[in-house]
Amino acid sequence: MVDYKDPKSTIAAVQVPSEGEAGKTGSWRSFKPVFNPEKCILIKSEKARCHICWMFCPEVAITKSRPPTINLDYCKGCGICSTECPHGAITMKKE
């Protein structure tokens, strides 16, 4: 039988899901997002709802947690989170 996880037996190009398909894309970054917890509404108020940064991140590099965390292994440094955060809780710093 054909097993796509076995490079010897595979006959067609069939790909399987894997994080970091393109490697550690964090290395592409020229600006690094720096999280300022004191400004994050999710930290300032337990009842607050936000997660705008999580929603807008094209890279899936921000977690939907309280507070959100940024996965710098993969963050490409686009700066959308910083621009979209209404509370100024993320600032971009040159790498």
Binding site: Y4, P7, T10, A13, V14, Q15, V16, P17, S18, E19, G20, E21, A22, G23, K24, T25, W28, R29, R49, C50, H51, I52, W54, M55, F56, C57, P58, E59, V60, A61, K64, N71, D73, Y74, K76, G77, C78, G79, I80, S82, T83, E84, M92
Partner: protein, 304 residues
Amino acid sequence: MMDMIETKRLRPDDLPEQEFLLPGNRSCAGCSMSLYYRMALKALGKKTIITVPASCLTVLHGLYHKTSVKMNVVHTTFETTAASASGIVAALEAKGLGDEITVCGFAGDGGTSDIGIQGLSGAAERNTNFIYACYDNEMYSNTGTQRSGQTPYMAYTTTTPHGKLEHKKNMPMIMHAHGIPYIATSCSSYPQDVYAKFKKAKLFTGTRYIHTLIPCPPGWGFPTDQSIEMGRLAVKSGIFPLFEIIDGKMFLSPESERCLDPSKRLKVEEYLKLQGRFKHIQPEHIEYYQEYVDNHWNFINQFL
């Protein structure tokens, strides 16, 4: 039907946490397509088979033998998204899974309105039970930003060095002419709206068409952090109206309602001046562009 499927206004944290797109993929920094695709996949859910033609999305899906997408995907040739989807639908129906598994084709603007329009029109005429999602970055971005049928007036592309002389092809209305049950336009800058429209599309049977504007930082010439704002400006200026056409009736989405009043439309110049692709544009072009957008709203008004 409208009452039944009206979705409440979603807040960011209403969106499900489960991701089908994985980090460390091959999309450019600030890619609106990634954000859009992430939202669409959340709405479609696991029981989906996707088909994707040659496009930026092929790149996002990654190089053999890994993929950054946790969903069944059938890559297909440039022009065959809708035909490929038709085959998947027929096979699922033959296996008795037609109602259980959603089929969705995701193609770029060139793949949809240029090379793929024949197959799309055929599939829509057959009312094939699938969602066709066009993500529109207004050029052939994947091959290096050439002109497409969706490139707007005066935009620079590598094959229109002095700007395109024609307007964007109106795909949603072409699809409307097919009499399909659900059509929507959306923009990646409104992720909840993208999510809600895909969710809603899932409630219909037959061909559903969702056309989404996705600003492309390298292709359009703006900083990567402005991806969201650029889409907002396209909507607020009325250049890209957000609406749904449900069983033949058009409904403006709340984001675009204000554009009904010409005085509340942001001037197109506010949108154009921020993008490198319009750098060469002259005042008379801007005037003509504004007139075109205003006329387009008269056209839309006929359907409301």
